[in-house]
């Protein structure tokens, strides 16, 4: 790393002498340094027990159904007793190795799903095609108030009619027999293979809303979802202490074979205690250890650290226009402060993400390059280097764009010689939030741009998004983060009609590429990759947002645990996880 | 015309109770008291603790609201006046309080204490004010430099004199003195009592002198009213009361005065027992079935007693 000025460089030098210890901690290459699968190759003992930590500062909510749950902690609870019907590969595409197989029709519009025999709910009932249908019926139900009525659901034929209460049934879903059904989509889209909904709901167990056996509200708050849920996963829920822990028993009837462990205990552990709980052996598995405490993780002796890329990234967004409520479209504002893309490029170049990744996150975050993240191995353009830290380049670009310091106060004025101050909005929360925002502001200051925090403060989550959504004029730039899910299609975040496209960036090229990326032609992986490479390039050129960091998640796993993996491409399955002592 | 005429004055305090804290009953602190004060005289109001003396005084000066009755001062009924309209009478009626310690604001020096009414009613330059206060201070027998001292630097008697000086600043016509000496030592009492007599002549004052100590009242008053349970039981000149008491309650009060002749103490004790017996025996003749005192009946021109037979309002 290199500093901006002489002072900086000196300081850094000095620091390196004394801060040796810390620098040694720095993770040069996460992938190389951390495995994704436990290395324990001992014999898994029979009837072992495993304690899993649920690292969270809040209790799990206990909505233990994929259709209704909201919080990630609930998903962590569900994963041990319920499964998706399909397995997925390294690109998060569905495969035919799971509890169901699929076949796509010629026109890519219809998918036929066939559930394997022997896949049974924990109460012994077989998983039926109507159970999957039930999930769709619930998701599209007019009374449904959750957040999972997504594009992929809407796209099912007849779903809209059903959703609006105009139809009794979903015309696009056809039950062929107990184990087989077809789903027909309005438009063929390659996202289907990543984004298809494939979890079933045990209709016989929880009760049927469509038949009026109970209301939606009753269903959601039912004991059968909250404290005694069933699935067809490797373990059965035996007991739940609401909000804090779950005890699972082995599901002897598991379709893949006998799960390795007799019991699994899952308990909520606060972020602050996670590392110590792992050290003490209170928990065997700690998914997602807090990276800012990396220093204390490295010397854990009884556990192994695994790392994997997360499907999310942080970015700096540049407000470029407005949301037009009439047309439901994003509209560029040619007079936006940051309308000149050279300024945006310069601002990206000014960001010293390398230093931030290294110093704030010990290298467990890496500078981001493009907007299709490396999580999507196939579609991420590794050759595109984005805009790396280069303050000189940034200054050049700014000079070129006419932003020069005319009044000698150390800050650049705009081409008309007016004061040029940018308002930067950033979210509060987390220890790092504040110094991070300051660091960025200083980075920009170093290239002569005056940036100040919007309203002089960090904004709490809701206020922040509220302001963004309403295109608050006090925001010129902001720092945000997106989770991408498992579908690489960026349309929902950067499309012309995407409300979440908070920068309000639009361009015809962008429209075209995004459309192509999810067109039937894109079922061809090479084609799709090509399109997304072009789109990544466009984004690096136009810079509506400057991606800042990709994140790694660190899992801590006790050394007695075997067959534990976080590798998406691995063939190891959850039921094989065991302990060797 | 008398200076002050109190006519069937009643002051009731509400007692609240029950579910909604509604007014359940009243403490009849003053329950139909009538008397007159002539200019220049001292009228003593005597009675045991809680009989309503203070309440009467406070009602006259406006510190308590009046439930019923009239307080006619120089022909104007104060009880029916609004608070704001009363203001101009404030100058004419003043009060001397019982406790010389709490009646002076400990945080103010004598100058500020005495000048307070001046600042409310008269616009004086600081020098004029200073001169007036100094004059008053000297009048009450304190040295001029004491105006910069604070109350705690004075003895009880001196403080009481400061209180009197404050009451005198506005040249009042009537002074209500509520037990002005009962908080003081014997030796100091004398000081204050003498002083009050002196200024009475000098300023042509009328006193309503409230006390429970018959010795003092006898020393000070021209006429007396004996109060019991919020009503007057007997009224008359000093001699009427002390030489010719009629009401058993009055007699009881008189008998309670300690005997200064040690030899006669046993007689006194016997007298008290006798009076108490009388009081019990004659109770029904002087109190109605509710234990309420009857209305005053004139015995002579100056002397009246509450006896059965008067109409009970």
């Amino acid at each position: 790393a290199c500093g901006g000025g002489d002072d900086e460089a000196k300081k850094t030098d000095k620091d390196q002498d004394k801060g040796k210890g810390k620098d040694e901690l720095f993770v040069e290459d996460v992938e190389a340094q951390f495995p994704q699968t436990t290395s324990n190759d001992g014999e898994v003992i029979k009837d072992g027990e495993l304690t899993v930590g649920l690292i969270s500062d809040s209790p799990f909510e206990g909505t233990l159904n994929k259709v209704f749950y909201e919080g990630k902690p609930d998903a962590d609870v569900m994963k041990w007793f319920d499964e998706n019907l399909f397995d997925r590969d390294g690109d998060y595409m569905i495969t035919n190795t799971g509890a169901a197989e699929y076949e796509l029709s010629e026109d890519n519009k219809t998918i036929t799903i066939k559930i394997r025999d022997g896949v049974n709910w924990h109460d012994g009932e077989p998983v039926k095609s109507t159970d999957l249908l039930y999930s769709y019926e619930l998701l599209g139900h007019p009374e449904y108030t959750g957040t999972r009525y997504t594009f992929m659901i809407e796209n099912v034929e007849g779903m809209e009619e059903y959703h609006n209460g105009e139809a009794e049934t979903i015309s696009g879903i056809e039950i062929i027999n107990d184990k087989e059904l077809t789903i027909t989509y309005k438009e063929p889209a390659p996202s289907l293979l990543q984004g298809i909904w494939d979890t079933a709901t045990p209709r016989h167990y929880v009760g049927d809303v469509t038949k009026g056996e109970l209301t939606m509200d009753e269903l959601v708050s039912s004991e059968k979802i909250r404290t005694s849920p069933i699935g067809f996963g490797p373990y059965k829920v035996s007991k739940i202490v609401p909000g804090e822990s779950v005890l699972y028993d082995r599901n002897d009837d598991y379709w893949r074979g006998e799960p390795a462990l007799k019991n699994v205990v899952l308990k909520v552990v606060s972020v602050a205690s996670a590392i110590d709980a792992l050290k003490r052996g209170d928990i065997d598995v700690a998914p997602e250890l807090p990276t800012d405490q990396y220093e204390r993780m490295v010397d854990i002796e009884n556990a192994e650290l695994l790392a994997t890329l997360q499907n999310s990234y942080t970015y700096i967004g540049f407000k470029l226009g407005k949301w037009d409520e009439e047309t439901k479209q994003n509209v560029l504002d040619p007079d936006a402060k940051l309308a000149d893309k050279r300024v945006r490029q310069a601002m990206w170049h000014a960001l010293n993400n390398e230093a931030i990744a290294q110093k704030f996150y010990y290298g467990l975050r890496t500078p981001a390059t493009t907007l299709v993240i490396p999580f999507f191995d196939t579609f991420h353009d590794a050759s595109n280097e984005g805009r790396s830290y280069d303050p000189e380049k940034a200054k050049e670009l700014l000079d070129e764009a006419g932003y020069v310091d005319v009044d000698g106060d150390g800050f650049r004025e705009d081409p008309d010689g007016n004061e040029f101050v940018l308002n930067f909005a950033s979210m509060s929360g987390g220890d790092i939030a504040e110094p991070l925002a300051q660091a960025y502001i200083q980075n920009w200051e170093d290239v002569g741009l005056k940036v100040q925090l919007t309203n002089g403060r960090l904004h709490e989550f809701n206020s922040f998004y509220d302001m963004l959504e309403k295109d608050d004029p006090n925001i010129d730039i902001y720092q945000g983060a997106w989770g991408t899910g498992t579908d690489p299609d960026p349309e929902g975040l950067y499309g012309r009609t995407a409300k979440f496209n908070y920068t309000r960036y639009t361009s015809e090229e962008n429209d075209k590429l995004l459309e192509e990326g999810n067109s039937p032609a894109a079922f061809d992986e090479d084609f799709r990759r090509d399109v997304y490479n072009k789109w990544q390039e466009l984004m690096v050129e136009d810079v509506p947002v400057a991606p800042t960091l990709y994140r790694y998640a660190i899992h801590g796993v006790n050394k007695r645990v075997a067959n534990y993996t976080i590798d998406a491409t691995s063939d190891l399955k959850l039921y094989e996880v065991g302990v060797t002592e | 015309m008398s200076l002050l005429k109190v006519n069937n004055l009643k002051v009731h305090y509400p007692i609240r109770g029950g579910f909604f804290r509604t007014v359940k009953d009243h403490v009849r602190a003053v329950d139909g008291v009538s008397f007159e004060l002539e200019k220049g005289e001292t009228y003593g109001l005597v009675g045991e603790s809680g009989c309503g003396k203070t309440t009467t005084g406070r009602a006259i000066i406006g510190l308590n609201s009046v439930t019923a009755g009239e307080i006619i001062f120089e022909g104007e009924d104060l009880a029916s006046l609004k608070r704001r309209d009363r203001r101009k009478y404030i100058q004419d009626i003043q009060m001397v309080f019982q406790d010389p310690y709490s009646s002076l604001n400990a945080r103010k020096n004598v100058l500020n204490i005495i000048a307070e009414p001046l600042r409310n009613f008269e616009r004086l330059s600081p020098t004029e004010e200073l001169l007036r206060v100094q004059e008053l201070v000297e009048r009450v027998g304190l040295t001029p430099e004491s105006i910069y001292k604070y109350p705690h630097q004075f003895s009880g008697g001196q403080r009481q004199r400061i209180g009197i000086a404050r009451a005198l600043t506005l040249n009042p016509k009537l002074i209500i003195a509520d037990e002005p000496v009962s908080a003081l030592d014997v030796s100091v009492q004398a000081q204050v009592l003498n002083f009050m007599q002196d200024i009475q002549e000098e300023f042509d004052l009328t006193y309503l002198f409230i006390s429970h100590d018959l010795g003092i009242v006898r020393h000070m008053s021209d006429r007396l009213g004996i109060m019991h349970n919020g009503r007057l039981v007997e009224e008359g000149t000093r001699d009427d009361i002390f030489e010719n008491a009629q009401h058993p309650y009055t007699k009881r009060l008189l008998a309670a005065i300690p005997e200064m002749e040690p030899e006669k103490r046993m007689d006194k004790k016997a007298l008290r027992e006798e009076v108490n017996r009388l009081y019990r025996e004659q109770h029904d003749a002087y109190y109605d079935e509710h234990g309420r005192v009857y209305d005053l009946q004139p015995l002579t021109d100056t002397h009246s007693v509450a006896l059965q037979g008067g109409t009970n309002k």
Partner: protein
């Protein structure tokens, strides 16, 4: 007595209604709503769907309309659905309330168990070394931020010494109803309770000490001494009973402190209770829950003050309630 309780309960109703109005008003002033947060993580949902849900929950209506609907149901005991938890607020609060009541109740008792003896010692032997020690402890406890102390407790007694569990309210394996179960519950309570109680003793010690020092020189204590009552008995029979009165009258407000403290304690010890729930619900704008929680804590304080009035009326014959 019954009348008093009835009257106070009646007074409580308008207070709680006012409280709920304020909450609704404030809620409307806060940026975002329950839906904003939920959908922020889900770029794949159309804005229309988001809007539709908002419409369904009536979140777009002016606050007084929302309030009208809410109060209409609330009087029937229905406090609405929690958006984030997808269940009726009453159901949601049930478990958490039990946990918090246990934690808060035990903390309060332990606070008094620590504070009252210390206050007595300090007051009785005023200016002795024990008094100085207690007073210093008192100031230190007052100055120590609760979360730092709780973290240190967690660190030392759980992480380093391993004496107590690191969080939660009970071991999942303990069979409910068995001795083990209660032992496990107790073990889980120790650290959270101590972290709270050791710091909450401040006002009790302070008041008790001062009051004892005041009472020591009162006339009736002199009377007692003049009767030849031994010094210890003078304290237990005469001074202490009088000095405990102000402590009893603070009970209601002690509860406010407990509620505030629970937010810290529950977060640090992963103890699923109301404090945590409140913080999360504010963050997620789950106002049905927030309202219910504020009402609960308001009611707790009112009931607490009522309780202390009742205690006072029992202990102090001068106070009569009817």
């Amino acid at each position: 007595m019954i009348q008093f309780i009835l009257r106070r309960s009646l007074v409580m109703i308008p207070q709680l209604i006012l409280l709920s109005i304020i909450i609704f008003f404030l809620a409307s002033a806060m940026p975002g709503d329950a839906v904003t947060g939920a959908f922020q993580n889900n770029p794949n949902v159309s804005p229309e769907q988001e809007e539709k849900i908002r419409e369904k929950f009536g979140l777009n209506d002016p606050w007084y309309q929302q309030y009208g609907r809410w109060i209409g149901k609330a009087v029937q005991g229905d406090f609405g659905m929690s958006y984030t938890h997808k269940q009726p607020v009453t159901v949601l609060l049930k478990d958490r309330l039990a946990n918090t009541l246990l934690l808060a109740g035990v903390t309060l008792i332990v606070t008094y168990l620590i504070a009252i003896p210390l206050g007595i010692i300090a007051g009785r032997w005023q200016d002795s070394w024990a008094d100085k020690l207690i007073v210093t402890y008192n100031y230190v406890s007052f100055a120590t931020p609760m979360f730092v102390f709780a973290l240190l407790m967690l660190f030392v007694f759980s992480f380093q010494l391993g004496w107590f569990p690191i969080g939660g309210s009970v071991d999942i394996r303990a069979e409910s109803g068995t001795i083990d179960y209660y032992m496990s519950k107790a073990k889980h309570l120790v650290l959270p309770v101590l972290s709270g109680a050791l710091l909450m003793t401040y006002s009790t010690i302070q008041y008790l000490r001062n009051d004892i020092i005041d009472t020591k020189f009162k006339d009736f204590v002199k009377t007692a001494r003049a009767k030849g009552v031994p010094e210890n008995r003078v304290y237990t029979r005469h001074i202490l009973r009088n000095s405990l009165l102000p402590i009893a009258s603070f009970l209601g407000y002690e509860i406010t402190g407990l509620i505030g403290g629970s937010i810290f304690i529950e977060t640090i010890f992963s103890y699923p209770g109301l404090g945590q729930l409140f913080l999360n619900s504010i963050m997620l704008r789950d106002f049905q829950v927030v309202t219910a929680l504020v009402m609960i804590s308001g009611a707790a304080v009112i009931v607490g003050t009522m309780l202390s009035d009742i205690i006072l009326s029992i202990v102090d014959p001068r106070i009569r309630i009817d």
